[in-house]
Symmetry: C2
Subunit: 261 residues, 2 copies
């Protein structure tokens, strides 16, 4: 992919990357999920993986609510070093090559005061049924403080983010609308996607294009070409800041694609 | 749940548990998935969780194919202690209370000879795209030898299995037909499910029943009663050994339920 295709006309390519940072990607994966897998240490210092539900605080730190009857609850109480892996939803038989996931590694702490209230509220909102058990004596809230953030985006994209960048990054506001937007684009606007592939992705001989991912900065297309399928990024003219802003940004992208022919 | 409802007429309840063992449950979870999360140890002995694809050998031992460029690949090469957590598919917002998952913990080994061939074949069958990269220099196959197996079945069911029982257990042959059977029962046979609830689950005042899980030994029903929703197990007369045997077993269960009124 050549970077000139990413730069909208009139903007400085340096100032507008046209895609989310690793920190933003990590925040998006965490925001979209309530189930992950926690790695803790057994008494012998061996790794132990267990599936857990979680919520996220405003800075993306995961909140856990675990029982001391659970192995990972006992592990955490004895050694609070922990790591949480979270993946986008994927289907049976998928091989992850098109699936984003993130690993947060750090130390779990018992929240107190206002943060305990925030942790409880976030957890109950994410896992409503937890209101029925989170107050039991054997359950406790934990907040995993990420010291290391590793994102793998699928199709060869991966990067690390600093803990500070991860905490400061915004959750992509269009996230709740992405699945519907992709479905709509592929079902009803194949012509617009093909125009983007030909006019903006530098593939004038493209014969078809499908939208595979979308975010506040643009779309990822898989494009049929005489040389085979290619993945390309087409960037919006500017960052989308409204949750329902994908439609207008995509219309602008289509207009620009058709003009560029 | 009282155990007398589990015993089919004429059989010895002791000899026929009417449900899968923890080892069989673990094998079923692993057989149904190709994605899990691996816990490994960093150079500092800290836990590291990463999402991985896997296949299973005939004894249920997971096969991994990992690159030394991946963090978990480097971790494994330095310290082969590892744990893999695998969950049933679940939807967004689900809280795991109805989701089975298993943790296998042990040591990863590099397979050799015939086992390397078996590992490669199993992995390529599970993750077809891996044929394109599994032979690259930085990729290696690993077999995780489970020393400990922990199964959590959802709704309060959990148990450990010995490594030997896990290895010896059969993968439930009806597994590929379960989702379709449940859909069909709930869509077209509400009357039969209600008869089971009233006649076999000891809930004569039940007003409706839905099938929530199914396996070679029987069905789990969620049942509306004057006292609220209850989960109950109704066991087949005998273990189903044929992949397509759920239908006949369910017909027999319905017949028995109606006779018992």
């Amino acid at each position: 992919m050549s970077s000139d295709h990413l730069a909208p006309p009139g903007s400085a390519a340096e100032a507008y990357a046209g895609r989310r940072s690793a920190a933003e990607e990590g925040r998006a994966v965490v925001a979209a999920a309530t189930v992950g897998t926690l790695a803790t240490l057994t008494g012998d210092g061996e790794p132990w993986a267990s599936v857990v539900t979680f919520a996220a605080l405003g800075d993306g730190a995961p909140v856990l609510c675990v029982s001391t009857y659970a192995r990972h609850g006992r592990n955490l109480a004895a050694d609070a070093r922990a790591s949480l892996a979270v993946a986008e939803p994927f289907g049976p038989g998928e091989d992850l090559s098109d699936c984003a996931r993130v690993t947060l590694a750090g130390v779990a702490e018992a929240p107190v005061g206002g943060e305990l209230d925030a942790a409880r509220d976030a957890y109950h909102a994410a896992i409503p049924r937890s209101e029925g058990y989170s107050g039991w004596d054997d359950f406790a809230f934990w907040v995993l403080r990420p010291a290391e953030v590793r994102w793998v985006g699928g199709f060869g994209r991966m990067d690390s983010a600093t803990a500070a960048d991860y905490a400061a990054a915004e959750v992509d506001p269009v996230l709740p609308h992405v699945a519907g937007a992709i479905e709509h684009l592929n079902a009803d606007h194949a012509d617009a996607l093909l125009a983007m592939a030909r006019g903006l992705a530098g593939l004038p001989h493209a014969s078809a294009a499908r939208c595979r991912r979308a975010d506040r900065y643009g779309l990822d297309l898989s494009i049929d070409t005489p040389e085979g399928e290619k993945w390309e990024r087409v960037a919006f003219a500017e960052r989308v800041d409204e949750p329902d802003g994908l439609r207008a940004a995509t219309v602008e992208l289509t207009r620009r694609a058709r003009l560029s022919r």
